[in-house]
């Protein structure tokens, strides 16, 4: 596992130095500013809106961070052939794949944590009740969703034949993953049994990112997001689904020619 950690920390450092991600960080800071501005309006509805927008900003920054990380790494692998050196070092291919996935997650966590801290500081300075323990827990769930998305992107980056294709499939999975419950509702309205079965299969194989969105729980004032099975189920789901995807990706990666 030491090799995985060495690769992950190098990926993290490499991505941190990449200028593309500086733009993303600026966007993240801008979004935090908007959240603070919304909260500044002072009404209860605006405060809720500010918290919702804060979570949305965290989710989108996480999504773009992970996607860009994998795109940069995949570009370097496929176009610049950097892996022709790395894969000949005394490392297993699973070290490389897992290291890449973990490195992207580390950067996403750093971005999200930075946004959250900045938001908390701004809220504290302005005396606004935007950041509380519930928001932090909701942000942690989004981070779990982001980690799962890193596994999804790693999976498509191994399977797809080009960088744009990998980015497109990953984005599609992310988008569809927010509407999995709608897929089930759709099945109930379908008359064609074949189409209904196909949509049901799509429901089962699509990563369910809506599980990590606790905005609804936060909206009900005083609701405790720790209650019931809400707490463990999404984390267990992210761990199992992510492990399955990475295993499939590794199976292919082991056989890949470079």
């Amino acid at each position: 596992m030491l090799e995985t950690w060495i690769i992950a920390s190098n990926v993290f450092r490499q991505l941190l130095r990449n200028r593309i991600l500086v733009v993303l960080t600026l966007c993240a800071l801008g979004m935090v500013g908007v959240v603070a501005f919304l909260g500044d309006l002072g009404q209860e509805a605006e405060l809720r809106l500010a918290r919702d927008f804060g979570l949305l900003a965290l989710e989108w920054v996480g999504f773009f961070t992970v996607l860009l990380c994998h795109v940069v790494l995949l570009f370097e692998e496929s176009e610049l052939k950097t892996y022709s050196i790395l894969l000949v070092k005394p490392v297993e291919r699973w070290h490389v794949l897992l290291g890449r996935t973990v490195g992207a997650v580390l950067l996403m966590l750093m971005n999200q944590a930075g946004m959250l801290v900045l938001l908390a500081l701004l809220a504290w300075w302005r005396g606004l009740p935007i950041v509380d323990s519930d928001l932090v827990v909701a942000a942690a769930y989004l981070a779990a969703g982001g980690a799962l998305f890193s596994a999804v992107t790693a999976f498509f980056s191994v399977l797809a034949s080009s960088v744009p294709a990998a980015a497109m499939f990953s984005t599609f999975a992310f988008g569809l993953g927010h509407f999995t419950t709608n897929l089930l509702e759709w099945v109930e309205h379908l008359d064609n049994p074949v189409l209904a079965a196909a949509v049901k299969v799509l429901y089962w194989i699509t990563p369910n990112f809506s599980l990590f969105n606790l905005k609804e729980n936060l909206d009900q004032s005083g609701a405790n997001v720790f209650l019931g099975g809400v707490f463990f189920w999404p984390l267990a789901y992210a761990a199992c689904y992510g492990a399955l995807l990475l295993s499939l990706a590794l199976w292919r990666y082991e056989r890949k020619d470079f």
Binding site: L2, E3, I6, I7, N10, R13, Q14, R17, N18, R19, E76, L80, K81, T82, S84, I85, L86, L87, V88, K89, P90, V91, E92, R255, D257, F258
Partner: protein, 313 residues
């Protein structure tokens, strides 16, 4: 000198070249068998697309053979223990431009589990060895192509491997850089390392190698020791002169091959026929022909091997 550190047995490799709806396959390597002995320097030569890089990538486990077996230091090329003892320089290596050579090498040193305390010292020593001590901490984006090649060589030497596989090591280097690369290879040979490298430069191969292999259209058409090849083949001299096209039939009657390029007739004769060739060409040219180039015996061997392979095909 008789232990095989790299062995290919009947290895073939095909690449998928078409699209998924129209799959095509190109044969990059056909039934390649050879072995690399401990302590020798082996040069692999061939035209572009001959399959040299495919062979190299198969040797280090980046490509999987469709047929045959490859043994690297007595193990499968994917075995980490074998790769711990291997140094590999890919053709035109690329490193992230925002990292410095020191950072890149420390990273690779960590993967080789080099002792942490000595790692930085070792990195600086190797960078000095390849002539990069002045730029060691600069971002690699400021490096020239030749400097990046040196970083590639430095990562190859970092863990003091017993086997070096170098894919076009002279590529991107200026004449001074080529000389330094040659000196490094010779120093590694003197230290008892086994070296296998690809090259287009026959002169380099002749100067450095104990044995040479020649690849053509995916086949290893010739493997022999350099002294044996040099003793069996003559060097050739290319003579040239300006003349009209209608000299063709008269030149064809001579015992040496000729060709017209941009109104310049080129005649290739063995070194021992030089006097006779000059005397024969002087009346046609109206003056003594110029010596355009002198080809090595290895070049003669290479061209003959290619011609024989093409004739069989």
């Amino acid at each position: 000198m008789d232990e095989d550190v790299l062995a290919f047995e009947g290895v073939s490799k095909r690449y998928r070249t078409g699209d998924f709806w129209r799959p095509l396959k190109a044969q990059a390597m056909r039934q390649v068998s050879f072995s690399l002995r401990k302590g020798e320097v082996f040069g692999l030569v061939g035209l572009n697309g001959a399959g040299k890089s495919t062979l190299m990538k198969t040797a280090v486990g980046l490509l999987h053979p469709d047929e045959g077996t490859v043994r690297l230091l007595g193990s499968d090329p994917r075995d980490r223990r074998a790769r711990r003892r291997l140094g590999y320089l890919p053709e035109l290596p690329y490193f992230p431009g925002y990292l410095s050579a020191v950072e890149v090498l420390v990273y690779y040193g960590q993967l080789h589990r080099l002792p942490r305390a000595a790692l930085k010292r070792r990195v600086l020593d190797v960078l000095a060895q390849v002539g990069l001590e002045q730029a060691a901490f600069d971002p690699i984006r400021r490096y020239s192509k030749g400097m990046q090649q040196r970083v590639g060589l430095a990562q190859t030497l970092l863990h003091d491997p017993e086997l070096l596989l170098l894919d076009e090591p002279m590529s991107g280097l200026d004449p001074l850089g080529m000389k330094e690369m040659r000196d490094i290879i010779l120093a590694q040979r003197a230290a008892g390392k086994t070296i296998f490298f690809n090259s287009h430069g026959l002169a380099e191969v002749e100067r450095i190698c104990d044995r040479v292999g020649m690849m053509h259209r995916g086949r290893l058409v010739l493997v022999d020791s350099v002294p044996a090849l040099v003793s069996r083949h003559q060097s050739t001299v290319t003579l040239g002169f300006e003349g009209p096209e209608d000299l063709g039939p008269r030149l064809a009657a001579l015992p040496w091959p000729s060709a017209l390029e941009n109104r310049l007739w080129r005649v290739q004769a063995p070194h021992q026929d030089l006097g006779a060739a000059i005397r024969a060409l002087e009346p046609l040219a109206g003056k003594a022909p110029s010596v355009l180039s002198v080809g090595s015996p290895l070049e003669t061997a290479f061209l003959q091997a290619l011609a024989q392979e093409d004739a069989h095909a």
